[in-house]
């Protein structure tokens, strides 16, 4: 691969930024030039969060790309995945965590959350591959909902021809030592979900 553009999106508090840090670090380890851009909003939970990560064998200028230029999207939440669909290439791949987090506007009945099947069908219609992953369930089985992001990273790692050890190293680099063990388990669980060990 000469170049790859990633988009990682979700809801504040889900750990998307750490996930994008890991993806960026893996790119560097794999010999790419790397740039990354986060739009974080406020420190409070619940907002829409998006990161772009670019890997390229050649020099990169902008830390983000435009619509229709993303190869791989990891969406931590179905509605957020749909919201960022415009960034996807036709040939792109979407990894979608099926955990729904309805915005408050939906909770209080002002707006309606689109039907799950419709979201999946809509995304499937615009890209080459859609993978549905219940990463939250796996994380809860491991005893900590906060490792959902690492499960997704594990799954993502199975889609790319990069030595898994690069990924594990990057996970080690970005998670607190106290939670390293459960995160490494989450990574392996994600790989299993992707059909690899």
């Amino acid at each position: 691969m000469k170049a790859l553009n990633f988009l990682i999106c979700g809801v504040g508090g889900q750990g998307t930024v750490v996930a994008s840090d890991i993806v960026a670090e893996v790119g560097l380890k794999a010999g790419y030039h790397v740039k990354k851009s986060d739009v974080l909003g406020l420190a409070v939970r619940g907002g829409s969060v998006i990161s772009h990560v670019r890997w390229n064998k050649e020099e990169i200028h902008a830390p983000m790309v435009g619509t229709g230029e993303i190869d791989i999207m990891v969406a931590f939440e179905p509605l957020e995945g749909l919201r960022r669909l415009i960034f996807m290439k036709d040939s792109g791949t979407v990894v979608l965590n099926t955990q729904k987090i309805p915005p408050v506007s939906v909770n209080i009945g002002k707006e309606e959350y689109p039907k799950e099947e419709e979201i999946f069908a809509r995304i499937k219609g615009e890209v080459r591959e859609l993978y549905l992953v219940d990463a939250l369930k796996t994380a809860l089985e491991l005893g900590n909902s906060r490792v959902t992001n690492t499960v997704l990273i594990g799954f993502l790692s199975t889609l790319l021809q990069i030595p898994p050890e690069f990924w594990r190293d990057a996970v080690r680099q970005f998670v607190a030592p106290k939670y390293l063990e459960v995160n490494l388990k989450a990574f392996e669980a994600g790989r299993e979900m992707g059909g690899m060990k």
């Binding site: 809801v11 504040g12 508090g13 840090d21 960026a24 670090e25 560097l28 030039h33 790397v34 740039k35 990354k36 851009s37 986060d38 739009v39 974080l40 909003g41 406020l42 420190a43 409070v44 939970r45 619940g46 907002g47 829409s48 990169i60 200028h61 902008a62 830390p63 983000m64 790309v65 435009g66 619509t67 229709g68 509605l79 957020e80 749909l82 919201r83 669909l85 415009i86 996807m88 036709d90 987090i101 309805p102 915005p103 408050v104 506007s105 939906v106 909770n107 209080i108 009945g109 707006e111 689109p114 809509r122 615009e126 939250l136 809860l140 005893g143 900590n144 909902s145 906060r146 939670y179």
Partner: protein, 597 residues
């Protein structure tokens, strides 16, 4: 070896390599991570602190630089207004050791109340300014600015912005300089360091002469570099937008400015004279363009690119094609997903501000607001905070409502950190000038919105040292506020009854302190609540607390045809506010703690 760093991390690294000993600032997105990185990674070499506000930080850095050690100040864009008073005198006094101010602008207004272009401060304050376009430059420019600051006897400003601060790119690390300047005998140089008008007046021509020397320096500096390619189009640009322009105009020639004040006039004119068309690409105001045109250079710029919002590569491409500068772009496939539910930021589950805004919404009083998470009380379902301007402005506005003769009794909200930052002078003003109104100080024991930094009401410093906690209640009493009440922020009844008492107080200003820790302080959620669907009558009262964890279930109450409530046990942090407002006691604590940490 190359390391990936954000712009903010790279600034911190630059402070380390450049021999900074003192780093001060006030938290503010997108600048906060600079000092956080300093305190975490470079704590052995650099003393870092969250000062009570940006001006205090600037003065502290001045004192350190006068004492002979290198210093750095960090701020978000609007903090520049707060510290500018002090930056401007520093431009006159100069210093004994290097001093750098790093300001992070917020083009596109992701988390700020305005979009001010801080490049103008360089002209206004007569201070040189550098602008990096990636993390490597962030680091290198801090190191260089510290040295130049001493050489030219002036503070330097480095202007970053959100897309640099929160983006990562590759950085080659260096070593910390040898011979880091150490504190020396404090200079008793009154003519230099006392800005008495008599002395300052004598400084004025010296500043002018310094400006000329800096300008000459800029003409030959490697900070300003030319990339010769095709000569049809010559682009003058700086900062992050330069990187975008390189992608949009891969064959154009570029003059990349790293020093944006003073500008290298000869270099600019020379570059312009060799290309057919000059295009100035900058975000926000025509800062470069105005000056370049004043040099007599014909240039295009703001006739193509708007003076507000980001000009991301995709937008730049569209505008450049419309202007005929590049070929029309092939039409992109449009993926229209329709109107999706918006995801506005909301109070987190377990937030201590929730009950207060539930009460304020109920009482329908005018509320002047301030800067912090509590401004989310201005959004649905509360719609209860009616103004927000700048740090500390809620109290001044509250006073203004009273002296206007308005018949309504108004309320101001202000957070604990914001109160220390800029809320104390207007409260003292209210007392002195016989004002009335209710001030709610929302004490959540942290500076929450910017990422949970310490402030004087806490017992730890940024460096992790134990310190004296300034008691807000005692402080307010010492200011001679007569009615001061402290309440449990999570107790809806207590908040409501105390607010009622304060609103009825006719004598003088009343202060209500709502005490409740931000969920990020202890990070110890309580067991989640759940809805007893037998008891729930689908009245939707619990939805009025605007909690992301409370939502409508598929179960319908046949009487009113509405959906009953449900609570997500993963999101719920167990504050219990929803259960307190439930009229049928249908919400109960489960005793089950979902695994979260």
């Amino acid at each position: 070896m190359k390391t990936l760093l954000t712009g903010n991390e790279a600034i911190a690294r630059g402070a380390f390599e450049g021999g900074v000993k003192v780093a001060c600032g006030y938290p503010g997105t997108p600048s906060s991570e600079i000092l956080e990185t300093v305190s975490r990674v470079y704590r052995e070499a650099i003393y870092a602190e969250w000062s009570t506000n940006e001006k205090v930080a600037m003065d502290a850095a001045a004192g350190a630089a006068y004492s002979g050690v290198r210093a750095m100040v960090t701020t978000k864009l609007v903090g520049m207004n707060v510290l500018s008073d002090s930056l401007f005198y520093l431009s006159y006094t100069g210093l004994e050791a290097g001093l750098v101010v790093v300001v992070c602008d917020d083009t596109g207004m992701f988390s700020s109340q305005n979009e001010q272009d801080n490049r103008w401060y360089s002209i206004l304050g007569k201070v040189p300014m550098l602008e990096p376009s990636d993390s490597q430059e962030c680091k290198d420019m801090v190191v260089l600015a510290l040295r130049l600051s001493e050489e030219f006897d002036t503070p330097f400003v480095i202007r970053s912005e959100m897309r640099i601060a929160h983006s990562k790119s590759e950085v080659i690390l260096g070593e910390r300089i040898d011979n880091t300047p150490q504190p020396k005998k404090f200079p008793r140089d009154i003519e230099k360091y006392n800005c008495n008008a008599l002395f300052a007046r004598k400084k004025r021509p010296i500043i002018q002469e310094r400006f000329q020397r800096l300008k000459e320096w800029a003409e030959n500096s490697e900070l300003n570099k030319i990339i010769w390619q095709e000569m049809d189009l010559g682009i003058i640009s700086s900062g992050i937008v330069y990187e975008y322009a390189r992608e949009v105009f891969p064959r154009a020639s570029f003059l990349k400015l790293g020093m944006i004040h003073p500008l290298p006039e000869r270099l600019i004119k020379d570059f312009a004279s060799r290309v057919k068309t000059v295009l100035v690409i900058e975000q926000l105001d025509p800062f470069l363009e105005t000056q370049i045109k004043a040099m007599g250079v014909q240039a295009r710029g703001k006739d193509i690119f708007p003076p507000y919002d980001e000009i991301l590569p995709e937008r730049m491409k569209e505008l450049a094609a419309e202007a005929g500068l590049i070929e029309n772009q092939p039409k992109k496939k449009v993926i229209d997903v329709g109107n999706l539910p918006t995801r506005a930021a909301v109070f987190c589950p377990g937030c201590p501000h929730r009950a207060t805004f539930y009460a304020l919404a109920k009482f329908k009083v005018p509320v002047t607001g301030d800067i912090g998470c509590y401004n989310l009380g201005s959004l649905p379902p509360f719609n209860a905070q009616h103004t927000m301007g700048s740090m500390g402005s809620s109290l001044g506005q509250l006073h203004g409502i009273f002296i206007s003769g308005s018949p309504e009794r108004a309320v101001a909200t202000i957070g604990d950190s914001t109160f220390f930052h800029a809320g104390m002078p207007p409260l003292v003003n209210m007392v002195h000038n016989r004002s009335k109104g209710v001030v709610i100080i929302m004490d959540n024991s942290t500076t929450a919105m910017t990422g949970h930094q310490d402030h004087p009401g806490m017992d730890r410093t940024l460096m992790g040292e134990p310190t004296e906690r300034v008691d807000i209640q005692e402080l307010v009493k010492a200011m001679k506020v007569k009615l001061v009440r402290s309440v449990n922020a999570f107790n809806v009844k207590e908040v409501e009854s105390t607010l009622k008492e304060c609103l009825a107080w006719e004598d003088s200003p009343a202060v209500m302190i709502t005490k409740g820790e931000c969920i990020f302080v202890s990070r110890k959620p309580k067991p989640a609540y759940a809805v007893d669907l037998e008891k729930c009558i689908a009245c939707e009262t619990c939805l009025k607390v605007g909690c992301p964890a409370v939502f409508k279930s598929e179960e319908i109450n046949p009487k009113n045809k509405r959906k009953k409530a449900q609570i997500d046990p993963v999101l719920c942090n167990g504050c219990g506010v929803c259960s307190q407002v439930c009229p049928t006691s249908a919400i109960y604590q489960t005793g089950k703690l979902e695994a979260k940490e």
